[in-house]
Symmetry: D2
């Protein structure tokens, strides 16, 4: 495409993260243009479009996908629609940015990857943690050998408030939350794959919703093919804020990432030494969310995705699926499609 023309982006999904991505495209990114918004709620689409001076608001994603003036789509619809939207968009030769999880089954994931490959369009996945400064620096440190061989890794996600357990999809803790941590662990142990998964999951925050399938707390332990051991953990109700951290211990040292404190302000009072905490993922990862879309705009122009791709989404999904089975069957599992020694 013409490198000077702004990238014209269609946004699919005007929820919380979709709105933030829309804002990034319209306001925070250079040479990108928010050309259309689709959301099944006409109000949601319209309000966001008005706020961001976006000319088109529709209820059908297909209208965006069919629009020849649009170069790229950002998919922020509910997870169950992701894979088929990727396939449609790719077939329409749009560059695709898809929120995580890209798919809910390995077959879907394979179809999405294949559609992008056949169409020759960039396909990038929304593993934003890779774009946070600390995580990116950790990866650089590791790749450059600064930690030696990774031996023990940890990644965790704690959401600040489980407001309405009825709206949490079944197994969301693996497919939508811990999928970030699975990608992060792969990102921080480059070139290695998970060979063994053992997962525990429970409804500890809201035991009254356990029968309806809620799992709000989970702990996963993993083994990688380079010997490294890892844990991922998640909880949906951290009263102190939005807490995302990582740790990589290797033969040459350790790095830790993540800090829930909101700013450099520290308050010293009768009750002790205190810092306010970050409450929203959109605050904690404001810059990372923006940086990943900037990287996607680069991919649209260059045709080369620097960030996480369909195969990364598939690998993280394979771990999530193994977790579901591990919980159901109370045993240790290998992610599907990963060779065992």
């Amino acid at each position: 495409m013409n490198m000077n023309k702004p990238v014209r982006v269609g946004l699919i999904g005007a929820g919380a993260i979709g709105s933030f991505h829309g804002e990034s495209i319209a306001r925070r990114l250079h040479n990108a243009q928010l050309a259309a918004i689709a959301d099944p709620s006409p109000d949601a689409a319209r309000r966001l479009a008005d706020r961001l001076d976006c000319p088109i608001a529709v209820t059908q994603a297909e209208e965006i996908i069919a629009n020849p003036d649009i170069d790229a789509v950002v998919i922020a619809a509910p997870a169950r629609f992701h894979a088929s939207l990727v396939v449609s968009a790719a077939r329409a030769r749009k560059a695709v940015f898809c929120e995580k999880p890209m798919a809910l089954t390995l077959d879907e994931a394979d179809m999405a990857i294949e559609a992008a490959r056949v169409a020759g369009v960039p396909l990038q996945v929304g593993f934003n943690r890779r774009y946070d400064k600390a995580w990116a620096e950790a990866r650089e440190t590791i790749v450059s050998g600064g930690l030696g061989t990774p031996q023990l890794l940890r990644s965790l996600t704690r959401d600040p408030c489980l407001a309405d357990p009825a709206r949490v999809p079944v197994w969301a803790i693996f497919f939508e939350t811990l999928i970030h941590d699975f990608d992060t662990l792969r990102f921080l142990n480059p070139g290695s794959e998970v060979t063994e998964v053992y997962a525990i999951a429970d409804a500890l925050v809201r035991p009254d919703f356990k029968e309806r399938g809620l799992r709000d707390t989970a702990l996963v332990s993993m083994k990688f093919d380079n010997g490294a051991m890892a844990t991922a953990e998640a909880n949906f109700h951290a009263v102190y804020g939005y807490d995302v951290r990582g740790e990589v211990f290797g033969s040459g040292g350790m790095v830790t990432m993540g800090d829930v404190r909101r700013s450099s302000l520290t308050r010293f009072a009768a009750e002790g030494v205190c810092s306010a905490s970050t409450r929203l993922n959109l605050d904690l990862f404001h810059d990372g969310y923006t940086a990943q879309l900037a990287s996607f705009m680069e991919a649209v122009r260059s045709g080369v995705v620097q960030g996480p791709i369909g195969e990364d989404a598939r690998a993280a999904l394979a771990i999530a699926l193994a977790c579901v089975h591990s919980v159901n069957e109370r045993r240790i599992l290998a992610p599907y499609g990963v060779a065992r020694a």
Copy 2:
């Protein structure tokens, strides 16, 4: 002005901070437009304009000031031109954002304030530290009574590298560096004014330039009319990075602000526990610099400046001038124009 029309901004000065402000206007701020750039170096103006898709690049600030299509100017020229540019721009009915120091003499400061008052245009000054999250939160804590009465304050600025001492204007340590700290201390002790100043300044980094007037290290102690005591200190060569911190101790507790660490990454190695540090003011205050211009754009639309105004610039300048005299005369001084009990 029409609230929907973008604010058309002329940038005066295409140096480091001018370029960053230009970028903020062109890329990071909504509904602002970089309409023209002036710099005595035609190359500097042109290169920046090209990079930021700005249609006009000139060598004379007056061309921008005379341009009827321009709503507001951002003055980032060398300090000695600030006051007269403010006066010219105000007379031409432009809203004015002026980098610190707004003036180098109290008379100039008074003229600038008066020109803006007469023209009825907003005049905002580049004390960006007020817009950093930690400092803004500190101010809120103090205003809301969370610290009781301030009793001991501290503000410091340490620049990372004194590359070329020959290019440092005489007394820049007070007029250009510590002026930030003087404003910060007033900001954090709201409603009070400095009544007594004692300053020490020396060329400790480059003693070989002392005879040519260099002062690269300074320590100022101050008394406020509410009894609070304060120190401000500066140094031009902190090998570990760009270090800006603040501390307010009051009857009800303490707050501290500032952290030179670059990200939340911590590295644990044979030599200990280490974090990389921030090297550039443009990194440390990236968000604050942007937020102050966003606030200025609000001021252009609403006519009301929420941030630091001409009178704040004057008050900080009065302290800086008292510092110069205190150093020269080796005695304690009251800032000019501040009533003594």
Copy 3:
């Protein structure tokens, strides 16, 4: 016993931790007296006795146990001798402090507990982490309800240097290292027991010793009967120092414990912001090791053990044994003797 007479203590084992305990008794504790030292190496016993002005140095533990002038023994011999020494000492009516692990099999543990019970002597076990200020405060916070119900726990131990892998007993990583973490997790989840264990262990530091049974890296995940999930991890070669940390996340918040930094000194240099790290367990837990013996002296006088008792040692051992089986059989196990729902 006479409350004013010093407690006369016999030390069994003059290695690193034995020597430190000897010093605590002779120098750091009030109203305790180091009456005798036994070590199979006559030199080791004699040198320590000379240094600490201890009148008796012998090679046979039994000489200490048979000595009617001795009130209490501190057992710091190699782990394989612990249980039988506890039994002998208890039968001789000595109060017993035994380093961890108190036993290597559940039968031995039961015999030791029974011997102390029958003799009516205090039996305390060397889980020193309970006496570190941060861990003790964490326990208080949890017991007082400050964290709500524990949901996710973590405990880790990283030793600074695996000098000679040939001298590491088989499964020492579970029996001698992680046994601390198993006790810590029980201590921090009061009233709950582990019902499920899954362990991974490998020789990642020294793969060349794997065939000889070395396991230098391990990760254990656990489920408690109150629903809480926990991980424990260990590694024998942390280049940055002796790293022991804990974390408890509950419905009401989180606590973290542990800091590898050696002092409050922070150094800011060209390479960043750095703190020196603690290299030795005897440094990190200097105060905790001493406090646990002070607590034992109280137990000798009062007859009541406030710290960890034989049953705590047994419970931690049951987890360690389950780990060994879990690694061997690559499956999830319940610690023996813990009722499953």
Copy 4:
């Protein structure tokens, strides 16, 4: 003296710090013996003696000084008695440890120094901060060149609670509190002396006691003969605890020392990230207070004082005296007896 015989110490003063020193001698130090306690309150002396198994409790310091069985005295009486007690004790050939300030006038200081010199006895002064691990490491870093030349220094002391302003001696803020900081700054800028002092002091905590001479808040700025600039500040009522910190910035970097947090426990709760704070000097400097007496015991045996000596006490006093004059006369002063260029 016989190197194996315990040092027999007489304690003069059974107040808070005297009691702690008594405890250190009786309980925490090897080969030291608390032989006698003097306090004008017979009850105070007796109670402490009973608690610490000390055989002699008297009301007159002279009884201790005249006792031929006593090797050394620890002077923890009120400041106004220090110098004459040093003189008497030295004349009686006792080794002398004297709490700060050693004297309240330079003449007294000179007499004390001279008395010790003539008698050939060790004279050590209670500047305990030198024995805190972080401050000692800072000094080592500086002496070994790790910071280059010191350029900006800071030392502060904040006491947690001004309970009874009526009991604070006039100018105690300089003579008893900031005297620590004056010594610390000299300790951290080795080989340099203060040439210029400017002090502000006020009754901000309890303005109702200002007329009676109370000064509860003070700020001192100083210049050293190597160009370094320093501040010292104190306040008697820090609601968040006992706060002592230091900072040295030099051509090669910076060190900071001090941390008010009580342990490594951090609590994450709805109100943010919090750590409990240290409330007592005896907690914050528990180890430093003990280490300085251990160092004194070495001095008694070897005859050589490694810690701060009479001349250090005198130099810190000279700064304190200059502060008093600076406050009274509102001008900049040189400490008496320090040569000016």
